[in-house]
């Protein structure tokens, strides 16, 4: 394994964050929002001198550090595009253990490495990587010796092994642990270590009864004590830390409605004292100090915001200082140095991505470290208002995000998924802010079933699908409409949120003007009958903990069985590989709506589960959802030209991505009409990339024949505005495509538009072909073969399909002398000039059978646009003396035959192979898809030629 170390590329991160004043008000481009956080996971070195951090960009992921003294950013290790961080741990103030993965040549591989930071004159001058060969993770610092850690690994037999080890030694090439912790039971699935109390905890799981047990002991102790036995996961029991040898602080709701911090007495298995309980909210975490035996902090969500309440005076003071220093941000302390003289603090805000600060205790000074998504720092986002309503006796909290900038007068109601044990918060949310910055108001509701408001409220959501849950949402909508009424209301959600949105429209069609149901469930009884492995009692019991017991009533609250009542404009999105809300739910609803002739729109994503695997899916989906709402409600389309100049390009790229996705027949089924709509939208502002994409789409359109002049105009326009791709495409089209009616002057004019980049391969190849095809206008005495050979191998290899077309074009143009032909063919896969013969095996229209396989339909009466025609043929040596390993070449030429019998070339392609590979049982195949232009001909003709342009096989496909 090798790593590229980038050293001393010094970038100052100070100043990334900006003040609120001066932020722009504009729709935030989807590509800027739906992307990875650029910087994350800062961790202080023990001496507080360095802050390790992880950086992700489109080009690469890398581990880096910030020098506290100089504020310089020093990249440590490049992990390639898609590299990931699992964890890192400062082993000492100069050794950082990194665990994660890197991507090299498209392959992902695990990485465990200790990065040794070497300094000269106080600045980082070198980083030495030491590979850690043993797989495992660090559980924490050993209480018995702060210089050592507990390192957990797995033996060859699959058992967990824990060592107490000097962490620096893990990087030794032949490290093998010696100080091993003995007597670990076999049935533990995971161990935890409480360093403060020197206690080891083990968790075991009973598959049959779905219960947990927890045992514990001193690290070096022998007998294991039972802390908790056969614990049912219906309740919470999370150990937060030992207070003494027999008492532990736990988060639990066994004895109270809210999840509170308890003192749990292990020998008597009782909750003896409540250490902290909030009257309204569940705690989500807590910390305790073993030495004092007291809790030091608790966390909970209040009004959607995470609140960290420090019960330790010093930390409480620090946090208060921080909160005061940066208004509008809520700080929590994330990490601190060994002497607690420096803190890393996280600054949250609902209307800004997270910022990280460094807090110097002695100076009482906070300085920004970095913003996690610097690209978003320029924008203004929506700040929510918290509303509370009473619904069927319960208080329901909701968050209303007013629109930013131009107001659409639309309230987007977004029920969350789950619905039980999940919640919405007001932390910065990409999806919400995508819509608020496009002028929508957004409402999120923590309806009954949501987490964070106590056990009774949470369990109150069980079995309330389509009933009290939607009543809670309705109450929240009414409240918001009283305060800030919107003319239109649309419901949009994913998973349960998709179900809920659709049910809201079925139950209240007068209220809801449009619905976007994403990755939803629509047939509730199907949840109990999804498969043979999901029909048993255990499965039914799990499902009923959310949906309620299986009964006839489920049919009355399933959108599938209520489909006739759907009258609201509806957009359905789903993933074909969804294993949570299986695609069958969507397919059923789609089928029934189609049968009932109820209009709806749909986009289904390939290679997608219960959400998008890549940001591209999120970008595509939200761009089309925004468009759907605007069309449905008759709103003005997003006006890119009215936005600040810096935003326009990215907004155009959003539309282009949406178009590309519909055009490519990859992530979604090809839909040329939709693709063109978004290409047109993107090109409306004359952006060069959009013009280029629109031109290509028109050139290759299947459903409609666009005038060639229009395509040439678009390509020229794009090329004039700086699109190198457009210039290359136009020149290539002039050279290869008979429709373009090229002449040398036109081609030369186009070549003048190539960027001034001598190293560009496309420019070199196009120049070479022009040189070969038009010898009369050559500017140098160089022969065609010389021009070809002058292009480096490396440049040629990257453009194989283009090269095959070029050589085929040269052969059919008959511009080459025999010796030139030999040189060029030899340079390409060592093809010889030996003769070859071709024989037809099968030809016809390719028809996909019920089993998904293609067959040839030979008696073709009519060819339609989009049809694929194909031929299967054999190639043999034309001469007796051809060697078995010689590479023979053939040109497969597709021609359009006009009414008057004249032909035009539609496609030329070079094929090659050796007699050893070519035999009667080894067929060659070529297929051709009928496009709009191809369908204007009377017939399509296939000609297979040898390298001397002699026709060896002809076949005519009639187009009636």
């Amino acid at each position: 394994m090798r790593w590229t170390l980038w050293l001393l590329t010094v970038v100052s991160l100070w100043g990334y964050a900006q003040e609120d004043a001066g932020r722009i008000i504009a729709p935030v481009p989807a590509k800027s929002l739906f992307t990875n956080q650029q910087f994350s996971a800062p961790v202080l070195s023990p001496d507080g001198q360095y802050i390790a951090l992880f950086e992700t960009t489109e080009e690469a992921a890398q581990v880096g550090l910030i020098e506290r003294s100089s504020t310089n950013y020093v990249p440590l290790m490049n992990l390639g595009t898609g590299g990931r961080l699992k964890e890192y741990f400062w082993l000492s103030s100069s050794h950082l253990l990194f665990t994660g993965s890197l991507v090299k040549n498209g392959k992902r591989q695990d990485v465990r490495v200790t990065l040794e930071v070497i300094t000269t004159d106080g600045a980082v001058s070198e980083v030495k990587p030491h590979v850690v060969r043993v797989d495992g993770y660090i559980m924490g610092q050993a209480a018995e010796d702060p210089k050592k850690v507990l390192f957990t690994t797995t033996s060859r037999g699959g058992d967990t092994v824990i060592y107490v080890v000097d962490p620096i030694r893990l990087a030794e090439p032949n490290w093998s642990g010696t100080d091993r912790i003995r007597y670990l039971p076999d049935d533990m699935v995971r161990y935890f270590y409480d360093s403060g109390a020197d206690m080891l905890l083990g968790l075991s799981y009973d598959d049959e009864n779905a219960t947990y047990s927890i045992k514990y002991r001193k690290l070096r102790g022998k007998p294991w004590q039972v802390m908790l036995k056969d614990f049912n996961t219906d309740y919470t029991f999370e150990p937060m830390g030992f207070l003494n040898d027999t008492q532990i602080a736990v988060l639990s709701d066994i004895a109270t409605d809210k999840i509170a911090l308890y003192l749990y007495d292990i020998p008597t298995a009782t909750f003896s004292d409540v250490l902290y309980e909030h009257e309204s909210y569940d705690l989500v975490s807590a910390s305790v100090d073993h030495d004092s035996g007291k809790p030091t902090s608790v966390r909970y969500y209040k009004g959607g915001e995470m609140v960290v309440e420090y019960l330790n005076d010093v930390q409480e003071y620090h946090q208060a200082q921080l909160n005061k220093s940066v208004p509008g941000r809520r700080f929590t302390l994330a990490d601190y140095s060994a002497d607690a003289d420096v803190y890393v603090a996280v600054a949250y805000a609902p209307d800004a991505p997270t910022d990280y600060y460094l807090f110097d205790v002695a100076r009482q000074e906070a300085r920004i470290l970095f913003s996690v998504q610097p690209e978003l720092d320029d924008y203004t986002f929506s700040r929510p208002q918290v509303y509370e309503v009473t619904s069927a006796g319960s208080k329901v909290e909701s968050y209303y995000y007013p629109p930013v900038g131009q107001v659409n007068d639309v309230l987007l109601v977004m029920p969350h998924g789950g619905p039980v044990g999940v919640r919405d918060t007001t932390e910065f949310n990409r999806l919400t802010q995508f819509y608020t910055t496009r002028g929508y108001a957004v409402l999120q509701v923590n309806f009954r079933g949501s987490f964070g408001f106590g056990k009774a409220f949470r369990e109150g959501g069980v079995g309330e699908f389509g009933q009290q849950i939607e009543q809670d949402i309705l109450a929240a909508i009414k409240k918001v409409q009283q305060v800030t009424p919107a003319q239109n209301i649309c419901a949009m959600g994913s998973s349960y949120g998709g179900y809920s949105s659709l049910m809201l429209s079925i139950l209240h069609p007068e209220l809801v003007d449009c619905v976007i149901s994403r990755f939803g469930v629509y047939d509730l009884p199907l949840l109990f009958n999804q498969s043979n492995l999901k029909t048993n009692d255990t499965w039914a019991s799990q499902v009923s903990e959310t949906v309620g017991e299986y009964s006839e009533d489920l049919y009355q609250i399933s959108p599938l069985y209520l489909a006739e009542k759907i009258s609201t404009p509806l957009l359905i999105t789903a993933g074909y590989n969804d294993e949570v809300a299986t695609f069958e739910h969507t397919q059923r609803l789609d089928y029934v709506l189609t049968k009932l002739k109820i209009p709806f729109e749909q986009v289904y994503y390939h290679n997608t589960g219960h959400g998008h695997p890549t940001w591209q899916g999120d970008i595509h989906e939200n761009v089309i959802i925004d468009d759907f709402i605007r069309r449905t409600l008759g709103l003005k389309a997003l006006d890119v030209s009215a936005q600040p100049a810096g935003v326009q390009t990215a907004l155009v790229e959003d539309f282009t991505l949406a178009a590309d996705t519909f055009y490519a027949n990859d992530r979604v089924d090809r839909d040329e009409q939709k693709a063109f709509k978004y290409y047109q939208r993107a090109a409306a502002n004359n952006h060069h990339h959009a013009l280029y994409k629109l031109a290509l789409a028109k050139l290759n359109a299947r459903e409609k024949l666009y005038p060639i002049e229009d395509i040439i105009r678009l390509l020229n326009q794009a090329a004039d505005q700086g699109s190198a791709d457009a210039a290359y495409s136009l020149a290539t089209a002039y050279l290869f495509n008979d429709r373009f009616n090229a002449n040398p002057s036109l081609i030369k004019q186009t070549m003048l538009k190539f960027p001034d980049d001598e190293g560009n391969d496309s420019a070199k190849l196009i120049g070479m072909l022009f040189h070969c095809l038009y010898p009369t206008v050559r500017e140098t005495a160089q022969s065609c073969a010389e021009a070809y050979v002058a292009i480096p191998d490396q440049s040629r290899k990257g453009h194989d399909p283009l090269l095959r077309q070029m050589i085929a074009r040269l052969i059919t143009a008959q511009q080459l002398a025999e010796s030139e032909l030999a040189t060029i063919l030899n340079s390409y896969n060592a093809i010889t000039t030996s003769n070859s013969d071709a024989e037809l095996v099968e030809a016809g229209r390719l028809v996909t059978q019920a089993n998904g396989k293609d067959t040839y339909q030979t008696e073709v009466r009519k060819l339609n646009i989009g049809d694929r025609i194909g031929v299967k043929f054999t190639v043999s040596a034309g001469d007796f003396f051809v060697q078995a390993d010689e590479q023979l070449g053939t040109v497969v030429q597709w021609l359009g035959v006009g009414d008057d019998g004249t032909t035009r070339v539609l496609k030329n392609m070079l094929f090659n192979g050796s007699p050893k590979q070519l035999n009667y049982f080894n067929y060659w195949g070529a297929t051709f898809e009928i496009g709009a232009y191809d369908a204007t001909f009377k017939a399509i003709k296939l000609v297979i030629r040898d390298v001397h342009n002699q026709p060896k096989l002809e076949h005519l496909f009639q187009v009636y």
């Binding site: 199907l526 498969s531 043979n532 069985y561 397919q587 059923r588 029934v592 049968k595 998904g852």
Partner: protein, 185 residues
């Protein structure tokens, strides 16, 4: 003596295994959209199959013992439509190749073919996670809407003469629901 006994036991096992393979009738999926139910006690068995890689054979035990061969079991999504005797069945065994196979227990893989109709029993999904050959995940999933679309596309004639029913594990009213819609129309 001991060795001889072991040899005889092995021989017997081999013969029994061979017989078990032999007694199944080799069948292949119907390709033409014609009604091939000739007897009153026959029904159509419709199996959806989703497999990551080509399978060698699929055995269905029951009223008739059936063996589907690789020609119906290539990688991807396949449908297998067979006229069979009505009665109790279960998926019995999947052969990945000549050497590796999985036997399926009767309880988890049973279904019933009723006479005179098209009995969709589910999509048998055979997935090979993490490229580990012996760790196949096999499940019989209910994809009734998908099966309906398949029949409408490739067997529209048969669908007009025979009703579709869900005959897989659990209860499902989807086909009743869409039959009701057609009656309304």
């Amino acid at each position: 003596m001991q060795g001889k006994r072991v040899f005889h036991l092995m021989l017997l096992s081999s013969i029994l295994l061979l017989l078990a393979g032999c007694v199944a009738t080799r069948v292949s999926s119907q390709k033409q959209d014609t009604d091939k139910l000739v007897e009153a006690n026959q029904g159509y068995l419709l199996i959806g199959l989703v497999n990551d890689y080509d399978l060698q054979a699929l055995y269905v035990w029951g009223e008739e013992n059936l063996k589907l061969t690789h020609e119906d079991l290539s990688a991807g999504e396949n449908y297998i439509l067979l006229p069979v005797k009505a009665g109790e069945y279960h998926f019995g065994r999947i052969d990945y190749n000549y050497y590796y196979r999985t036997s399926l227990n009767e309880d988890d893989w049973r279904f019933e073919v009723k006479p005179g109709r098209i009995n969709y029993v589910g999509h048998l999904t055979v997935e090979q996670p993490f490229y580990y050959f012996f760790a196949n995940h096999i499940e019989l999933e209910n994809r009734a809407a998908n099966a309906q679309l398949f029949m409408e596309k490739y067997f529209p004639g048969l669908l007009t003469s025979r009703d579709m029913f869900y005959a897989g594990p659990g209860q499902d009213r989807f086909y009743s629901l869409i039959a009701g819609l057609e009656e309304q129309q």
